[in-house]
């Protein structure tokens, strides 16, 4: 894999460059530190020469003091640049994190079906953390180190041209070799990160499903799989480390040859009386100092190597497009909506259609009940109506607008979907009900809680609306379901899709919310998916799905009377009293 520099540049432009002030200060402090570094050996050279020629001792003390000032100044520059680079790094990476989260939340459900949350955390947080350096000091370090390199070269040339030339050749070769290493070992960490992501995905999934594992007596099985994953990590890590280590060894070798050259040349020049012993020290110091920028450039390369695979994945996410795209239209008419499903066919995987040629209409304020066996496509249909997925063939219209042209903001505001799964957050009750929308008044929330008959439960909460909820604990499934209902009540939509929504409620609790539900469904277009016929006693029309096709569709009252209808069969098979009373 070759990652184009364009990708790096784009990331820097988008996330790093906007922090211009921080960058300028950082560059300045880092440059200051470099200048001090270059000055240091010059002072010591003076000192050595003056001392070995027996100069005035006061002069030597002054030089020592001057040196101290230089070192202290360098430290001050370092503190500032460390602070600034931290700040810059965090700002840029957090900006990127948020963009990634936005993108991931936008991606369609098909994507989310394929990924565990552990994996996604690893992408958003793990990978981006690796990019920290890239976004804090990468470019500046690069530039400054080139300045430092050039500075050393100029100073060496100023002493004796021969040393200057020697060291220049050495530097050029080093940079060339380092760059060669970089391109050769570009993918060192990719496999390692991939196994890590899998490993943490496994851990996340199994922690979520802990009780199932326990009650299936499968702890040992899971442990065995954990062992396998652990075992798989070692050879991959080993390979990556060893490859990575080669870079270090190469530099060691190069440095040694640099030293040898400096030693040889200086000896020749000194023994021929061309330079002083102080200058020999200076040359050796600079040849050692030369390592720092080379080292840092190497480190930057190395971290860039590590970052490369992360950059690639981050960019993949940023560039990925949701298959369910936002529209622009707003529905102007207020109140209940009409919906028309026109010859819709849908499949998750190629060639296994879940819905086949489904067509029906629900007029404004009317209600439709959809029944059918599990796997007949009911939930999928609901997901199409609420655009969690897009239809593959055919179209769905709301008030004669193609669903795909309507803005998500509008759609989500006006169409509510109560799903089978109850999803709660570790957040306050208020945030669980408003889903972190800060614009909802407490009175409104409390009224809904009251309407749903939850006031007894509510008054038992220690901190009222600020009580922290937890996704798995403390609430019964029925209570959790009621909270999800409350979300819809707060939202006050114009169309509601209920998918098995009351299934987890026991009959008394269900009774409790009947009135509230009546109120909610009143004057709103409603589509109710139910396994239990009692939940659809209030609908106008009935649609029976069988293996993705419409098996029956018509007015409830007529179907109920038609002796030959499937609906009639269902009613007769046990629930007729319930339905018709």
């Amino acid at each position: 894999m070759k990652l184009s520099l364009k990708a790096h540049r784009q990331l820097l432009l988008d996330y790093w460059f906007p922090n211009k002030a921080l960058i300028s200060f950082l560059a300045l402090t880092m440059f200051g530190s470099i200048a001090m570094e270059l000055l240091n050996p010059q002072i010591i050279r003076e000192f050595i020469d003056k001392a070995s020629t027996g100069s005035n001792i006061i002069h030597l003390y002054y030089l020592a003091l001057l040196l101290m000032l230089i070192v202290i100044a360098k430290q001050i520059f370092n503190v500032f640049s460390s602070y600034l680079s931290q700040k810059l790094g965090w700002k840029a990476t957090n900006h990127l994190r948020i963009d990634l989260i936005k993108k991931l939340l936008d991606l369609d459900m098909t994507f989310h079906k394929e990924s565990t949350s552990g994996e996604l955390i690893e992408r958003v947080d793990g990978e981006v953390t690796i990019l920290f350096n890239f976004f804090s000091t990468f470019l500046i370090t690069f530039i400054n180190n080139f300045i430092l390199l050039t500075g050393i070269m100029v100073l060496l040339f100023r002493e004796i041209w021969m040393i200057g030339v020697g060291m220049s050749i050495f530097t050029v070769i080093t940079i060339y070799v380092l760059n060669f290493m970089r391109t050769k070992f570009i993918d060192v960490w990719a496999d390692d990160r991939e196994t890590d992501a899998k490993f943490y995905g496994f851990i996340g999934e199994n922690i979520s499903g802990m009780e199932d594992i326990k009650s299936s007596g499968s702890i040992h099985y899971v442990m065995r799989r954990f062992q396998e994953l652990l075992k798989a990590k070692l050879p991959i890590r080993m390979k990556a480390m060893q490859k990575n280590n080669l870079i270090w060894l190469f530099t060691l070798a190069i440095y040694t040859f640099g030293d040898i050259m400096a030693f040889g040349l200086s000896a020749y020049l000194y023994l021929n009386g061309i330079v002083t012993i102080g200058t020999v020290f200076l040359v050796i110091s600079y040849s050692v100092l030369l390592r720092s920028p080379l080292e840092q450039i190497r480190e930057q390369f190395q971290q860039l190597n590590q970052a490369d695979s992360s950059i690639k994945r981050v960019i993949d996410i940023l560039r990925s497009e949701t298959k369910v795209k936002d529209g622009v239209m707003f529905i102007h008419s207020k109140g209940a909506l009409s919906i028309k499903v026109d010859q819709v066919t849908f499949e998750y995987d190629e060639d296994s259609p879940v819905l086949k040629d489904v067509s029906f209409q629900v007029g404004k304020g009317r209600s439709l009940g959809i029944i059918g066996r599990t796997g007949s496509g009911k939930t999928t249909l609901a997901k199409l109506l609420t655009r969690l997925h897009d239809v593959k063939q055919g179209a769905i219209y709301i008030n004669d607008n193609d669903l795909r042209t309507i803005a998500f903001d509008e759609l989500r505001r006006r169409v509510a979907f109560v799903t089978q799964e109850v999803q709660l957050f570790s957040a306050s009750l208020r945030n669980n009900l408003t889903l972190f929308d800060t614009g909802v008044a407490d009175e409104k929330i409390l009224k809904v809680i009251f309407d749903l008959g939850l006031n007894d439960w509510y008054s038992g909460l220690p901190n009222g609306l600020d009580t922290m909820m937890s996704p798995n604990g403390g609430l019964s499934a029925g209570q959790a379901q009621l909270l999800v209902f409350a979300r819809v009540f707060i939202k006050d939509p114009d169309m509601i899709v209920l998918d098995e929504a009351t299934a987890r409620l026991d009959s008394i609790t269900e009774q409790k919310i009947e009135n509230a539900l009546d109120k909610l469904l009143n004057n709103r277009t409603t589509i109710i998916i139910a396994h239990h016929l009692s939940t659809i006693r209030r609908v106008n029309d009935i649609l029976v799905l069988e293996e993705g096709r419409i098996a029956e569709y018509g007015e409830r009252s007529q179907l109920a009377l038609d002796q030959n209808s499937r609906f009639h069969d269902l009613l007769r098979s046990g629930e007729i009293e319930e339905m018709l009373k």
């Binding site: 430290q75 989260i101 943490y200 299936s216 007596g217 899971v222 442990m223 070798a253 029925g478 396994h531």
Partner: protein, 589 residues
Amino acid sequence: MDNKQMKTYQLILHMIKYKPGLYLTNCALWMIIYLIPLVLGYITKEYLDLLTGVSSYAISIQIVIITMVVLLALRILIIRIAVRVDTFQRYTITSLIRYNLFERVLFRISHNKGSQSTGIIVNTFRDDAGQIDDSVNWTIDIVSNVFFAVVAVVILWNINKDITLYVFTPLVLIVAVSQFASKLIEKYRKMARESTGNFTGALGEAFDNIQAIKVNGAERNIIDHIGKLNSVRQRNMVKDALLNTYLNVINTSTVSIGIVVILIIAAKSIIDGSLSIGELTLFLSYLTYVTECSQFLGTFMAHYKQTGVAFRRMADIVEVSDDKELLRYTQLDAPVDSPTQEQIWDRLKILEIKNLCYRYKDSNKGIFNIDFIIKKGQVIVITGQIGSGKTTLLRTVLGLIPKDSGEIYWNGSLISDISACFVPPRCGYTSQVPNLFSDSVKQNVLLGISEQDADIENAINNAILDIDIINMDNGLETTIGSRGVKLSGGQKQRVAIARMLVRKPDLIVIDDMSSALDVETERKLWNKLFDDKESAKIIVSNKKFAFQRADTIIVMDNGKIIANDKLSNLLNECEEFKKMWGNGEDQVS
């Protein structure tokens, strides 16, 4: 709990002793690697002395250069070996910690179910385990550094006692200062870690709850929420990093003082010839090295404190009372006992629950004084309103939450370890919302039991899953996506039922499963279940259908059993039950 807490150094020592041979080999290798720059420094001194004609050895420039080349070769060789050993050692330690963590997470019985989000736990697996490994690994660098420093001091002492004394006193100071600041480090580090945990926790939850977010159009609100947590984290992280920088600066600033002291003292000695230029440069270069050492010592001190924090956090998250549990020496690839090994057990004849109580922390909810008996072949249906304690009752009986008091007797003998007892093949359980795993349908059903021993077909049929399987692309081998997302709610439920049935438990416990099933499928499922007279069944349901086939019905209210009787008696006597019956929806045809 406190007396079982380990000090950080104990924990590090404990980890070192896990594979002492490996550790010592690694340590020896790195000591050599650390020592080589020292030798190179000495060579530079000899080189300068050679030039200025004061060398005490009879060597030439050529020999100096050859020595350098030989050293390089040696260095490369040792590094090659050391990196392998080091990687292996690090892997061993992180794996051990992660292994113990995972085992602990799997085996613990927690009062606070779900109090830690998955994201936070995954975070501790990743970062906290890494932190501990770093600490252990860094002790090698510490040992090598100290060794290095001692050798350096001895060499310098032999050259000039005064300079050695005046230069190396500041080093003691540095260590003192670092330790002084450690309290602060601990605090900042803790804050930084906590805010990271909050951030990743919220993030994981957002991805877990993606559907709720999408259907409610709450993307922007969620991002704001996560963004706020992220800003808090940023502030804490920068503070943490800055403190580390301050410490570094204090350390390196001593270099400047050191250098000045050296130069001032050396000035006279050089002029009077008692100190050669080569020796001066040796002082300068060793000073830099040794300061780097002590700087590292400072960093290690800080890291050491952070490790303490990380470990405490880890122990808190997985709720261990004895720290040793997380550090237990385990053979990482030791064969794990197979769960199906238990071929002979005391087949259930009668199960007695006596005076069982469980109260939720900080609440008056729970279950109280639960008594009932179930015999082989019987069906008990538990019913009651939302929040009446049905699920809590099941979970307490199964040992998924620890009972406060009461006893359970299996064929008359008291069960001491409830959670270990109520597993297959004695007992099987399906919760209201079962979890599946990203694997094939078959592996989800088997979940570890061997294919030969299992009558998977029968389990699939009894779970009314046969038709679904036929319609799947690859039949039983079809993969179901992370947590089973590719299946419908009803299919998930039935895969979980099949997973339970394939284990042929004596006691079947099912929480309300009607939510995701249509009437037809649910009825078929109940019929299959009730027709099997081999097992006892405890079932939570509000369905007339279930009531009619139950041997006894337990009616719960506010955590207590208010009635435990036959259907006919309940319909005459129990008001609460009559209400439920009146609203019940399905009937037997």
